[in-house]
């Protein structure tokens, strides 16, 4: 399995380069907020070379939608990105993928989005349209993830472990709130709904306000682990834990209990306990 690992800082990059990770996932300045280590276009070549020199591949991840004006203002830069020596480019915006494909990008294109591909028919349509890999929706049940694993083991990129995004807003919701209550506050917080115990991570950056689950999603299903690509998300997680997951995965000892034993966060298998959709609320 090729293991993609999110890099959140220069220090983390140094440690991940020493690990058995196969692909380092980084972001481009102005397009990834605080979710990833952000690299300027000017320094991208150097970072790519450093990662390649360690025998690893590079994935540049654009997690969010890109509005027309922003796209237009950065079109020259994005054309340069297409020509960089990148191994993978992951797009949360379908338009970016289309653009890169038509500007001679030789990188493998990943459609990486937490919600949009919830069935193999859509996945196949994205693949037929020029994407090489895709991430199945995060909120589908384990049983449905197995369908992807069985039918598309080479193209599905599963998040195997880590916190994950559950909503993203373009609005600066934390700053807005701090303005209203007339006080300053941190840009990374925990949220708790008043009548419930569950908590969530909140993060505001230049891309908006994002909510992440505060439990670690752990996918240790054999069918999923038999796929060719796996992804580790490391935001809000101590780098030592991420390194441990890499080691467990490479040593084929990765398990729900193993992650749980060493984590300061709660863990879960994903939304497999229920699956209310069309019938909900009727």
């Amino acid at each position: 399995m090729k293991l993609f690992v999110e890099v959140n800082s220069t220090e983390n990059l140094r440690l991940i380069l020493e690990s058995q990770a196969d692909v380092c996932v980084i972001g481009l300045q102005g397009f990834c907020g605080d979710r990833l280590m952000s690299v300027s276009l000017e320094t991208l070549d150097d970072v790519i070379k450093t990662i390649h020199d360690h025998g690893k591949k590079v994935c540049l991840f654009f997690p969010y939608i890109i509005l027309q004006s922003r796209f237009k203002n950065n079109e020259a830069s994005l054309k340069q990105v297409a020509l960089k020596n990148l191994d993978y480019i992951a797009c949360g915006d379908v338009g970016l993928g289309y653009f890169l494909k038509h500007h001679q990008s030789t990188a493998q294109l990943i459609f990486m989005n937490e919600t949009m591909i919830a069935n193999t028919f859509d996945a196949q349509t994205f693949l037929d349209s020029g994407f090489d890999l895709f991430t199945p929706a995060m909120d589908i049940t384990l049983e449905k993830k197995r369908i992807f694993a069985h039918q598309m083991p080479k193209q599905a990129l599963f998040q195997l472990c880590g916190t994950h995004l559950i909503s993203t807003s373009h609005r600066p919701l934390l700053s807005s709130y701090y303005d209203v209550i007339n006080q300053d506050g941190p840009k990374q917080v925990k949220l708790k709904e008043l009548s419930r115990e569950a908590k969530y991570f909140g993060l505001e950056d230049d891309q908006g306000f994002h909510v992440f689950h505060d439990r670690l999603l752990v996918l240790d299903d054999p069918a999923v682990l038999a796929c060719e690509h796996g992804y580790l998300s490391s935001l809000f997680v101590d780098i030592k834990e991420t390194l441990m997951w890499i080691e467990m995965l490479k040593n084929k000892s990765f398990s729900y209990d193993g992650v749980k034993q060493h984590s300061s966060l709660n863990v879960y298998h994903g939304l497999d306990e229920t699956d209310k959709g069309l019938e909900a609320g009727t």
Binding site: I65, Q68, S69, M116, N119, A137, S167, T168, S175, G281
Partner: protein, 398 residues
């Protein structure tokens, strides 16, 4: 090119009201494959009736097929789309490109519109959807006027934008708060609107509460009202102006469609500032939440959020519908309470609004009454002129 005014309808009654009050097209949901599972939605017979009503008036009917489908949700889709096509449905609105492709294969003449659920926000996304053979894109609500103008001018695909109604605070289709907090799938019709709940904020180590207990954190968005920018949207030739709200009442549909129809039809005749002001007043008569103008001019800040308010209010200004005219009296079907001497206003698609003071109120037994309070009962009162059957009556708030 004349712009299309596109209205929502949760059932046949609201569909008729939308067309009566000036919608050029109406979008509805069937019993399957549609978001807004809590809307009453249309049976197949209803859809056929809806198509017939629309086409008899030279108008269009669109059907939402806009869930983000899971593997098992494809069961029966081909038969469903075949039926919609056979009925004469003008377009389907999809969030799944696979469903869109299936539709194009089996019903190439039925248009496929890409839902705002996919959050198309740039010209390259439009090119992608065009390459798949689709016919229209509903833009992400995060787009500014400049974004919209640029994409319209590129003439890649016809563009539809929202002008009124509820707003997702999060990027549409990319929010699973409801899934995780309520185990209800937001992208398959079960959204619990968890964004509108109240939250305590704390530091990452959970040692310090940051939020103010008297004004808790929420992500609850005000509704969209694009009236201040409507003239610009009309001038840039977007294909369609969309009103959100398949779960809204007939009164809401009538009021909102009527106001926007009036604005569009008189845009060149009236002073813009006054036109905007009077439209805002008219729209406010059906408002259940405060509104803002979306992302059209600036990135929304704190004034776009409903702090300290739990959900939407209920508007009780709608008091009845004119059902019958007998000599010099009119019969009104009651919806909300009103009293003798209340000032009421009647509005309809063919006349300016008219106000009068209620007097000589009688019940169905011709007995004099001072208060009409039983919903769906009929009361009579002296006619005002002009008046037409099916016009709506509301209270005038002092």
């Amino acid at each position: 090119m004349s712009v299309e005014l596109l209205a929502p309808a949760g059932d046949l009654l609201r569909l008729k009201v939308a067309f009566d009050f000036g919608a050029d097209a109406v979008f509805i949901g069937g019993k399957a494959f549609s978001l807004r599972a809590r809307a009453s939605n249309f049976t197949m017979d209803d859809i056929q009736q809806g198509v017939n009503i629309a086409h008899a008036r030279g108008k269009k009917l669109f059907v939402t097929v806009n869930i983000v489908p899971h593997e098992d949700n494809f069961e029966g889709i081909e038969q469903y789309l075949t039926q919609l096509n056979a009925m004469g449905v003008d377009a389907i609105i999809v969030a799944s490109i696979a469903m869109g492709k299936i539709s194009k294969r089996i019903a190439p003449n039925m248009e496929v519109h890409i839902s705002t659920q996919v959050s198309a926000a740039n010209e390259h996304a439009l090119r992608f959807y065009k390459s798949l053979g689709f016919d229209r894109v509903v833009l992400a609500r995060e787009c500014s006027l400049d974004d919209v103008r640029t994409m319209v001018n590129l003439n890649i695909l016809p563009i539809e934008v929202f002008i009124h109604g509820g707003m997702c605070v999060n990027v549409s289709g990319r929010c699973t708060l409801s899934n995780h907090m309520s185990l209800r799938d937001a992208n398959r019709g079960g959204c619990a609107q968890s964004c509108r709940w109240r939250y305590e904020l704390m530091t990452l180590d959970e040692q310090t509460i940051i939020s103010n207990p008297n004004l808790t954190f929420t992500m609850s968005s005000k509704d969209l009202n694009a009236t201040p920018h409507l003239k610009e949207l009309l001038e840039m030739n977007v294909a369609s102006l969309k009103i959100e709200g398949r779960m809204k009442s007939e009164y809401y549909v009538a009021t909102i469609v009527n106001a926007y129809r009036h604005f569009i039809d008189h845009v060149d005749e009236l002073d813009e500032d006054n036109h905007v002001a009077s439209t805002l007043v008219e729209l406010s008569k059906a408002a259940s939440r405060a509104t803002f103008d979306g992302f059209y001019k600036t990135l929304p800040h704190s004034s776009s959020i409903l702090y300290g308010i739990n959900g939407g209010g209920i508007n009780q200004d709608f008091v009845g519908v004119v059902r019958k005219i007998e000599g010099d009296r009119m019969w009104v079907e009651v919806r909300n309470v009103f009293n003798d001497q209340d000032v009421l206003e009647v509005f309809g698609p063919n006349h300016e609004n008219r106000q009068w003071t209620v007097s000589d109120l009688k019940n169905e037994d011709e007995e004099s009454i001072t208060r009409a309070y039983q919903p769906m009962s009929w009361v009579s009162m002296p006619c005002i002129h002009p008046i037409e059957i099916d016009e709506f009556i509301r209270k005038v708030t002092p």
